[in-house]
């Protein structure tokens, strides 16, 4: 299988604290890789190192074999790498539709072209499709700040899928989402994975969500890779049970 993302020996230190200590793993095309681990084990820092928000002290990140370590997030995004954040990150003063158009508008043409181009940057239809896909149709014209938490969370995820990314990193997509919404989110993720062949890396604490969605799971503890394997293998691993899952 083709490697989409290769993370090798990534280390990030904050002062004397090593948040991420030499983490290496590969992500294969079309898979859904789950990353689990206790709070503070470096999951989000690892994401930030991969996505250019933070510059790792050591190690490298490769996308399709090309070194992208420390590349600016906006450039990385235009290469087809998209993400969501742990905390909600929608633009409250823009409408749902505008949030989605914004998420795709920088992916084509030049900045000057966008100034003189169409108001919806030619993305209106795609935004409407995404709105339909995430069941946000009745809210399309509402300001995102007026939506409920769960609806904003769906919008947040939908934004990451505009412009058809190849690799999506989701930081706790299920956090604070109720059960019905969770099922629908899982369904959407599966569908996008299957239909568009998009590859996912998902940080999540909700074990049921991870175990039922992911094809492989990586367990992080104290900034290091503790285990990696299928959901069943990881669940059976005594070290993982000890460090994270509990008895």
């Amino acid at each position: 299988m083709k490697k989409v993302l290769q993370v090798s020996g990534v280390t990030k230190r904050f002062g004397g604290i090593t948040a991420v200590g030499g983490v290496s793993f590969d992500v294969f095309e079309g898979e859904i890789l789950g990353i689990i681990g206790p709070n503070g084990c470096g999951k989000s820092t690892l994401f930030n190192c991969i996505l250019g928000q933070l510059m790792p002290n050591e190690g490298s990140v490769k996308l399709d074999g090309r070194d992208v370590t420390g590349m600016r997030p906006c450039d990385l995004n235009r290469l087809g790498v998209s993400r969501t954040f742990q905390l909600l990150q929608v633009f409250p003063q823009l409408t749902v539709r505008e949030n989605l158009i914004l998420s795709g508008q920088e992916h084509q043409g030049s900045m000057a072209g966008r100034l003189f181009g169409r108001r919806d940057a030619g993305l209106g239809a795609e935004a409407d499709k995404m709105i339909g896909f995430f069941n946000l149709g009745h809210l399309a014209g509402e300001k995102a700040g007026g939506l409920s938490y769960g609806q904003q969370k769906l919008l947040d995820a939908a934004m990451a899928f505009m412009a058809g990314p190849r690799l999506v990193l989701l930081d706790e997509p299920a956090g604070g989402v109720n059960l019905t919404m969770l099922e629908s989110l899982k369904e959407r993720l599966r569908a996008i994975n299957a239909e568009q062949g998009a590859t996912f890396v998902v940080i999540e604490h909700n074990m049921e969500f991870v175990m039922s969605l992911c094809t492989r799971v990586l367990v992080l503890a104290e900034g290091r890779v503790l285990a990696m394997g299928t959901p069943a293998e990881v669940r059976a691993n005594p070290e993982v049970v000890e460090a994270y899952l509990g008895h």
Binding site: N77, S82, Q89, M111
Partner: protein, 331 residues
């Protein structure tokens, strides 16, 4: 077409009609004040773009008005046509504004305010001390009013219409910019730069652009200010002007398209209307502004926005309630 839209269009029409008809009834001084309103509104529109839409605090807009005013005064007193002077003012302010945007890539909010404040002071010192260029504290007098398509714009009425037309053009251009994908990117920059960056928005370039375009409009404001007043010296371009422009944006409502028009009206016209109170007019004016900002920190249009939001929420919950009632009757 809903009621809000009709009200908006009618009030726009009335305002435009007033701005076109009223001047014929006004004397020299009234025309001067109204022209000043149009000119300052252009400067405030520029700052509203930088601050209101893109969220970059600037205390330097007055300095750009100064740069624009000096460019126009120096060039036109040396017999260059006004059109060239305006283009030079725009280009110069755009370039300097772009450079001033660089600190904004590192510092934000009140720290950025201090950086731009320092620039404001620096610009004032240049206006005052570089006598070979600006004639220092003696100022540049007899700044000519332009000749446009063979028409002399010397009379107060004609010059007012030139200012009003300039404001009209700026309004259309900025309106178009705000509605383009750039406008959306500016708002994203204001609301959440980190998320914007992760969505492929080159926040660095948009920040610089927001500063450059806002400053260029400050330059346009200055290039009209010089022939309006017909004499310039460094005094009007102190920090005070920057603060005044900032106040126009905030009082009108930062991030609202019509904010600068209202803000400039309050800042330029209200003190004049209050003159009948003689010694008290500045005091009353200050109390009014303070009261307004305590009541509505989002400015005049913030009040309207709050009212409209409350109304639409009410309407939505009424719709929901009636839907629930129907549902209840059916089951």
């Amino acid at each position: 077409m809903n009621l809000d839209r009709i009200i908006l269009l009618v009030s726009l029409f009335v305002a435009t009609a007033v701005l076109i008809v009223l001047p014929f009834q006004l004397g020299r001084y009234g025309l001067y004040i109204l022209s000043m309103w149009a000119v300052m509104a252009i400067g405030a529109i520029g700052l509203n773009l930088t601050l209101g839409y893109a969220g970059q605090v600037s205390l330097a807009q007055g300095a750009f008005v100064g740069i624009g005013a000096y460019s126009a005064a120096i060039l036109t007193t040396n017999h260059w046509p006004m059109s060239v002077a305006v283009l030079v003012a725009i280009a110069l302010c755009f370039a300097v504004g772009w450079i001033l945007g660089y600190p904004a890539l590192r510092v934000q909010h009140h720290y950025l305010a201090f950086v731009t404040l320092a620039f404001s002071t620096l610009a004032y010192l240049v206006f005052r001390n570089e006598e070979w260029l600006t004639k220092g504290i003696y100022g540049i007098s007899d700044v000519p009013r332009p000749v446009l398509l063979g028409f002399k714009m010397q009379s107060p009425l004609r010059f007012y219409f030139l200012c009003l037309a300039s404001l009209g053009i700026v309004t259309l251009l900025v309106g178009w910019l705000i509605r383009s994908p750039w406008g959306r990117a500016f708002v994203a920059l204001r609301e959440n730069p980190i998320r914007a960056l992760s969505l492929g928005i080159d926040t660095r370039r948009y920040t610089l652009m927001a500063f450059a375009i806002g400053s260029a409009l400050g330059g346009v404001c200055g290039a009209l200010y010089a022939p309006l007043v017909e004499f310039i010296d460094p005094t009007p371009f102190t920090l005070g002007l920057s603060l005044n422009l900032l106040m126009m944006v905030i009082v009108g409502g930062a991030g609202f398209f019509a904010g600068p028009f209202l803000g400039a009206a309050i800042s330029v016209l209200l003190p004049e209307w209050l003159r009948f109170t003689e010694g008290y007019y500045l005091l009353i004016y200050a109390v009014f502004v303070m009261g307004l900002l305590i009541y509505s920190p989002t400015g005049l249009l913030g009040i309207l926005d709050k009212y409209l939001t409350a109304r639409s929420t009410k309407k939505a919950s009424a719709a929901r309630a009636s839907a629930t009632a129907t549902f209840g009757a059916q089951s």
